[in-house]
Symmetry: D2
């Protein structure tokens, strides 16, 4: 069975900025989706901010193994209820790939619990992405480094939690560095942050970037259906303890009662 990816695109600058609309005439989300399909094992759909429920209905999410997120100008317009819904699906095992300016998206900040801030400079400078963890599945098939001739600089310190693993670190012509590929797990959901992708440059046409995105979808996919919701907090009645115990001392709750939240 094919992996089912959904590419979420903010789809704002593509329609309001001439440069961006020339680079991505069909929208960034459609170009990203095109890159995902190249090996034939990933089935993609797209969703955008402007659609009903931002295109992320319960049904869409239920049929998404991995969600990719690109946003920039309109983070604040994303409905909090949809953010909450996406977060719950991540906890239940949907993978999430956060791209470039998505570092400031509501969903990424909620999942990280940190500001997710960084330095930035828009100078079309050269970025060289170094593979620091060459045996990681996300690095499969990549050279030891690759270059994007024009990218936005994102510079350290990047205020995110210490990652599970650092996969890429970027060198910038202007003298900065950035941890450009980082993995996390939240509940049953695998999360990957990937730095490249400023909307005025043709980053999502780059073959190495395409390889990273496809590898990341495969890596983020969690085959294990998560039987129990990780947000469930079951009371275990005393009589059902795995080792026989006798109740002692005072208590607040009755057997099987729902806990306080």
């Amino acid at each position: 069975m094919k992996l089912r990816a959904t590419v979420w695109g903010e789809n704002v600058h593509e329609t309001t900025n001439q440069i961006v609309s020339e680079v991505y005439p069909e929208g960034m989300h459609n170009q990203i989706a095109k890159m995902l399909k190249l090996d034939g094992d990933i089935e993609t759909r797209t969703a955008t901010l402007q659609q009903d429920e931002h295109g992320l209905s319960d049904e869409v999410l239920a049929n998404t193994d991995v969600l990719l997120w690109w946003g920039h100008a309109a983070h604040g317009d994303v409905d909090d209820a949809i953010v909450e819904r996406v977060m719950r699906r991540v906890w239940q095992g949907m993978g999430l790939i956060v791209l470039h300016s998505g570092h400031f998206s509501k969903i990424f900040k909620r999942l990280m619990g940190t500001p997710c801030a960084l330095k930035w400079r828009e100078a079309g400078e050269r970025e060289r992405i170094w593979v620091v963890n060459p045996s990681h599945p996300i690095a499969k098939g990549l050279p030891e480094h690759f270059e994007l001739e024009n990218e936005e600089m994102y510079g350290e310190p990047f205020s995110v939690p210490e990652p599970l693993e650092t996969v890429f670190i970027s060198w910038y012509q202007g003298g900065d560095v950035f941890r450009s590929g980082l993995t996390y797990r939240r509940g049953a959901g695998n999360i990957f942050y990937f730095q490249p992708g400023h909307e005025t440059y043709p980053t999502y046409y780059d073959q190495n970037v395409g390889t990273v995105l496809r590898n990341a979808v495969r890596w983020a996919h969690n085959e294990e259906a998560h039987a129990n919701d990780p947000s469930d907090a079951p009371n275990v009645p005393v009589g059902e303890a795995l080792e026989p115990i006798k109740e002692r001392g005072p208590r607040l709750h009755k057997d099987g009662e729902e806990g306080l939240r």
Copy 2:
């Protein structure tokens, strides 16, 4: 100079439940504060839900090195704006120690980005806390394990992110285990979660628990004043790049302009 700790207590069951009021006649927050003062190097104040701004004004937080948080029945009553304020202070370097049922507090869930759920049973059973990281500063002066004859069982899986380090793991009489001491960092803030402390048992009178709390305050204290706010995202003008670069290609923003959020 003394460390400045603030103990935040929900202070609900102490006034509404007879058992709890008998165990903690002056409130749990005051008993915790008393334990913190024993070595003389920690200056403590308390704050409660019922106070104006829950006792957590900007001024109080600005003068707090480490905040301890105990809540259970009224997580939902904590003002979102105060949660946001506490979170920002943690990012700037205030330590945070989350106690027992505080696993479901708004502040802990926001900082973790996960459900923070677990199993539970209120049977007054024996909990044995094992030190799995004996060289960690939080374990200083502890025996290799210690017991609480009556505690609430909290059982795995505990849906939190993989910690920086696991300090304690608990054994329960009824057959469960729990990672009862976990460390995290969010921005410049050190965070410690500690499991014991059900309100119907005299846990915060226990000398080993007191040692853990004092050690945790010392560990969570971040001496390094954080010069830059970790939520600041400065633009670096092209002319101020550390290596001389020439601007190339199109751009969205002007030099020094504030970025999109």
Copy 3:
């Protein structure tokens, strides 16, 4: 293509101790190999201490995706040169699953860089293995906990490095706990330590244990062929720098010269 697992067994107690030979008449390695074959996707061979080169020739290792290691009485008899050979293969991407008393094997201690010590008690007590990371591939298909009615107790503190992820924690009847499933990566090699498997008990006939072993082989397998040996330390001649630089200041080495080790 099938995964290629090699089960290494010390094969000492099976031939010298009557109890063990009754529990594992064909040797522990053969019973473990049998469990690995159950799903049909893993091809297994065995190797033992007594064979030439302990059964771990260059050719065998070159054709092994994942090596499983069980040893206890004869750690000291394992040839240092073979340990070195196995370690290099792990660095190049061979998975390694270390079982039970293998915590004190030369290979595990070399890869961890720590004493790998623990408490122990041989009382045939009940061990309950809790899944603390239910979305991890090694936990696939397992219940939230499972029991081994008779196992050797291994107790904390277990002096290993902080793991990449903690998958299992065990509860023991006698009051101890142990991190019984831990993951590591060394070079390109994925490593999993799994606690159960004392030779006097029928642990490797248990269906849940079998599931863990098969999952662990699949997880440890690194599909990515590691193009560069992670122990290679290439000199980059100045003229081949990715950005044009001019040599400045004094130097010790000539271009392309091999470095000092």
Copy 4:
């Protein structure tokens, strides 16, 4: 009481290479020691390869809180027994700071369990060290980045385990990046690797480098005396189990017997 640091220097190129002897006429170890003393809270001694037991007798190590290690040309000449001795002291809680070419020292490779290899180029190029974890104690008092006008390039991939925390990442003029400040813990010992320090450049006269070294000594110092040797593996007799259990099933060992290693 002052912290007690011992600076170990290989002391080979200082006496055999004219350039190095001009940069460090008193030896690199003495210059490093001088930098450590600047704040007055660290008491230093030095030890060199050429001394009896390489200057690292049991007594010296017993009176060392933190050991700094600089070696390059003569890693192979370091006695294995001394390496073993240092490793045990690290496990017991002595801090270890590994400098520059010490990445290939026997002691670092033993503690990491990986090849510790990297790319390198000796071109006197500019290195810019970025602080990626500004709230880490090792970064105290540093600017957000600092430069060394001439350093040896060390390039990724650096084949070390995923660190506890990444503190520094370096940018090189020639287009490479390197994780130049990494923390680890092995047993009770805190370990810090720091990249700068090629012997032909005056790196150890740099004030920011000095700040890093002093911070690192303070951070690596483990106040907690480690009561139990982390390499001790005690048998717990059945009768001394913390919860009453009855011995069941067969066993290999008698009560209190020493285990197999």
